[in-house]
Symmetry: C2
Subunit: 340 residues, 2 copies
């Protein structure tokens, strides 16, 4: 089969990869019908993780083509969406809603690599969710978004305890930040403040429910959020970048007793304990337990209540993945969908 | 009046201080009937904060002797307990339960200094809570504990989301850690694991409800907690020390999705963002909003349901405060009550 490989920094190639096959009885093989490039793929792409000869991709919508002997909830032909983390969905950690930290957790990125025609999904019953029927092509991008970027933005909003009547600040106008805006709106936030300087992302943020789009960054953003909230800061802040600057911006934008939900993969972030102590805020985040939210998110998409697929602003065939990575790296695209 | 002053590192003196008087119409003057020495007093005592000529003390039980023109809930003669942070208890932050971050917040330590015969309490209506009547002498130590150390341990347990059926680990066997054990028990925890190597503190921890007292520290403690929890870690962890080592011990003892409540004043703590991200835990803490809990805690003490006053293992007259500081510094005493 054809699949994307990162050969070295900024060297994306689409090559012939070995067809996946059932190894464990809890595996399923799926034919991927849509996949995409994640902001987090840019870390290894840019050489931050020194990855070489690396299969890529962890977001996917597909159809089951083969199941292992112990798979019980899926059959060949089922259309499915899966999480970017493998989970059994039965262990104590999964049952508490933290499938991304399942005792059998494994990142789909780098091991499975779903920027490809087929994928082997371990613990298929606990990782994949069947859609109510064959999805209309128009909602495939939204279902694909549920696989990670929507699920991650949603988790960030839940972790930030977004709710009715609350003011939410979103740090990051990438795809996850924009999904955080959508989630905040859906979860009933009264005011949604987002930091963005890109006209297209500003427009999408407003479409998803942002009430205030600020060009300010860093301490200027913090000052502006305080100005908009009687000096208190936001009730909830979504951190969707992962740098020291964005983390500090998020932390300082929240009021005492408020909540920061952080989902940007932290790179070179050190949180000063004394400041955190006297700020008296809540911090929660990490790799989103997308599997917790998938049934609900699929339902919202199926009923056309949310349209997260709008976050894709460039669609390319899998064979042109390299151009997709370049477009995201150069911020010419917010998020790139790869067709098969 | 007589009052305790830290003249310089390890130099505690009891001197004549000016009698406090009403300055603002929301002030009350109280005659202090009992006060004590806090573990946090040891930071300046040991020279960590380079404090000199500093009034000391922030825990207090007393009787109102004078009120400002705008004080409405108190009258002269009322027996009261107050928080270690001044609060108006009416602002938006107070109403959300974060009185320690009130817009009028001010630390009683270092400004008021309640290791003294009298104290001026600003925002008396929002800071002090009247007891149901004249307290029996036997419960005065417990009411005094509510002023900070019990309220702080209680907040830590609430911040760590302690509840029925949960396993709680407590890092720190000082007075606050011990109060965390008591709070965890009262809040319904099933298993309470505490780290202690001091026979007297171990005994008190067991009396307050600890089910497992471990001599291990650091990574050995973490390993033991995991061993006791099917490899997962505790649901809730109370951090009651404030060093880099204790903070790491707390963070690593909690399971994914679990909660760390931290109340040790953080000194030289840097939390690595990448570890926090992949640990996927909740962090919440800071100066305890004791005022939130005071009415409930006074009620529990009044009804003899809890006996936090047992945490005091040395009682001295105010004039011998210097010996009290020495005893706590040298860990000869867990917590020292000063009588007036």
């Amino acid at each position: 089969m054809r699949g994307v490989v990162l050969e070295g920094p900024r060297d994306i190639q689409v090559i012939d990869r070995e067809d996946p096959r059932i190894i464990d009885p809890t595996d399923a093989i799926i034919r991927i019908t849509a996949t995409c490039i994640c902001g987090s793929d840019l870390w290894p792409y840019r050489g931050e993780d020194d990855s070489r000869h690396q299969v890529m991709g962890h977001e996917y919508v597909g159809v089951v083509t083969e199941i292992g002997a112990e798979v019980t909830t899926l059959k060949v032909g089922d259309p499915v969406v899966g999480s970017f983390v493998i989970s059994d969905n039965t262990c104590e950690i999964c049952q508490a809603g933290y499938q991304s930290k399942c005792v059998h957790a494994e990142f789909v990125a780098y091991t499975v690599g779903t920027q490809a025609e087929y994928a082997r999904i371990p613990f298929a019953d606990g990782t994949l969710v069947k859609t109510p029927g064959e999805p209309d092509p128009e909602i495939v991008p939204s279902l694909l978004a549920a696989s990670d970027v929507l699920g991650t933005g949603w988790f960030a909003a839940v972790a930030a305890e977004v709710g009715p009547g609350k003011t939410v600040a979103v740090v990051g106008d990438g795809a996850v930040g924009l999904m955080g805006v959508l989630a905040a709106k859906e979860l009933g936030a009264e005011r949604i403040i987002v930091s963005s300087r890109h006209a297209d992302r500003q427009a999408l943020a407003r479409e998803f429910g942002a009430t205030d789009v600020l060009a300010e960054r860093g301490d200027d953003f913090v000052a502006k959020v305080k100005e908009l909230t009687n000096g208190f800061g936001a009730h909830s802040v979504i951190e969707a970048v992962g740098t020291a600057e964005s983390f500090a911006q998020a932390r300082k934008s929240v009021r005492p007793g408020g909540h920061v939900g952080f989902v940007g993969i932290a790179h070179d972030v050190q949180i000063p304990g004394d400041e955190l102590f006297f700020d008296e805020i809540h911090l929660h985040g990490g790799p989103a337990p997308v599997r917790r939210f998938l049934p609900e998110l699929i339902g919202l998409i199926w009923e056309r209540k949310i349209d997260p697929g709008k976050v894709f602003d460039l669609t390319l065939p899998l064979e042109q993945a390299a151009e997709g990575y370049r477009a995201m790296d150069e911020r010419r695209a917010t998020k790139v969908l790869l067709t098969l």
